[in-house]
Amino acid sequence: MQAKRTLILLAALATISLATAIFIFGPRSADRWTEAEVAMLRTLWLGSLPPLPPDPSNRYADDPRAIALGERLFFDARFSNNGRVACGTCHLPELGFQDGLPLAQGIGTTDRRTMPIAGMAYSPWLFWDGRKDSLWAQALGPLENPVEHGGTRAQYAHLIAAHYRSEYEALFGPLPDLSGVPASAGPAADPAARAAWDAMTPAAQEAVTRIYVNMGKAIAAFERTIMPGPSRFDAYVQALLEGDTRTMRASLTADEVAGLRLFIDRANCIQCHNGPLLTDNDFHNTAVPDAPGLPQDTGRAAGAQLVLADEFNCLSPYSDAAPQQCAELRFILSEGEELLRAFKPPSLRNVAERPPYMHAGQFATLQEVIMHYHLAPPAPAGHSQLEPLHLSPRERAQLLAFLQALSEVSD
């Protein structure tokens, strides 16, 4: 009798232990995904990122010497009007190559937020409005912008000759004689620099611009090496694909998984934030409000016209691409209501690490961003793609939790 009772007790205890163990360590119901969902998650996984696409417009794009030179130029503050602004002044490596400010601060203050650089080599369009179509053309914009680096291309050509002659010539061939070139000249906003530029011969202008373009191509080669690293979300998807429930549980909490489910489903995030970089690199009007004190920003409507007219675009003489390799520019959508106030969605990788948000830092926190998409206010101008999401406070918290799981895991 005693033995039987002991046996029953033991069996009961064993069963309870087993149930508890399965509850704690077994698969969670939150981790059940349909076939289509698994396929969708795979497309968002960093492991699905294809190899870096070639940049036919920059024949130095993958040259290690260009990468090394570009890295030095990127952090060299001499390439500015006051000797204090480098690319790395706003694109701070320790902050994910951005500055954490609503509006970028160079010589002056710009009208837009500094964009992060990681994975940007995958984007056909650069800047919030896509007014440049290559990394090298992009890099040349701020260098001559009066409120960013504020210098001129003649000034930069002299700096290259003085400080980078051997590295430059090893890559791009001999530097031209710059003795007749003014210390500062360029087709920039500054009237004196402009007048000095206009007084130069077309051949001298061309020689200086060629050096300027090569600087951009070296900086772009360096920027191509800046890539995002895997996050807990990526560990989760990899574990899902491998059927490793334990790692799935260890990678994302139940709330983060619920947030992921909202991300790919009811919250419609993947309409724009898709692919392994969590951006489609296209342009969308999501009713982001105007920034106080700034002129109305028309976004892609202006950006499309600017890139078509850009002296450094893919079809320009400074591009190394054959015209047929410039498909994005040749088939650009350059007119239409949908371009008005449309902006490029940034990659959401590391998004929690870089407040404030939107093209002029209009939202201080991710909570504000989520509330904006939840409420879907009408667009200040143009047509908003948003529809109200009807998320509960708990669901908004879950979405936030998921976005925080997109940060790179340092190991």
Binding site: Q2, R5, T6, L9, L10, L13, A14, I16, S17, L18, T20, A21, I22, F25, G26, P27, W33, T34, E35, A36, E37, V38, A39, M40, R42, T43, P124, L241, E242, G243, D244, T245, R246, I264, D265, R266, N268, I270, Q271, C272, N274, G275, D280, N281, D282, F283, A327, E328, R330, F331, I332, L333, S334, G336, E338, Q385
Partner: protein
């Protein structure tokens, strides 16, 4: 009696601890095995196939509103029956966010290749009310009724329409292809 109870308790606790320990020890090996069976039922046989591969993969968000009987054929008779139109594309399977080209084949209803047609392209996502993110164009006549369409890029998964307006020998007709894009 008290001693017996203590023995039972100690034995029970030891059993419980051992059971949990055994499970913990075995889970790394057991877990994936158990899951693999379930995954085998749910995982696609091949990773992601686009509609051009013969199967459109729909995502949950869209599936409710996408017509169940949507014609995703890549060969169709134009709206007024003037032309039989088909296409192939150079990106198979079609993926989002990648620029690619189509080759359009246009023949008359009775199977003769249509030469020198003027063809324009439009399209968009009917459920989202937006057009194509690019402005694709016919850039080259490849001969034998075949036309090169360059500049197509889809930037999200779901139901896309691509419409061709074809004008040849004074006759004009349109045809819309439906694309169901996964991932």
């Amino acid at each position: 009696m008290q001693k017996t109870a203590l023995t039972i308790l100690v034995t029970a606790l030891t059993t419980a601890v051992l059971t949990v320990a055994l499970l913990l020890f075995l889970l790394p090996a057991m877990g994936p095995t158990l899951m693999h069976q379930r995954m085998a039922e749910t995982m696609p046989a091949t990773p992601l196939r686009g509609p051009m591969g013969g199967m459109g993969m729909m995502h949950g968000m869209m599936s409710s509103a996408t017509p169940a009987d949507l014609n995703t054929s890549t060969s169709r008779l134009s709206d007024q029956g003037l032309f039989q139109v088909s296409f192939t594309n150079d990106l198979d399977p079609v993926a989002i966010n990648q620029m690619h080209s189509w080759t359009l084949y246009v023949e008359t209803a009775d199977g003769q290749p249509v030469e020198n047609a003027t063809i324009t392209v439009s399209g968009g996502m009917p459920q989202h009310g937006h057009g194509l993110p690019t402005r694709p164009q016919v850039t080259e006549y490849l001969g034998n009724g075949r036309y090169l369409v360059e500049g197509l890029r889809f930037q999200m998964s779901g139901w896309w329409e691509v419409t061709f307006t074809i004008e040849a020998a004074g006759q004009k007709d349109t045809i819309t292809f439906n694309i169901l894009l996964g991932g």
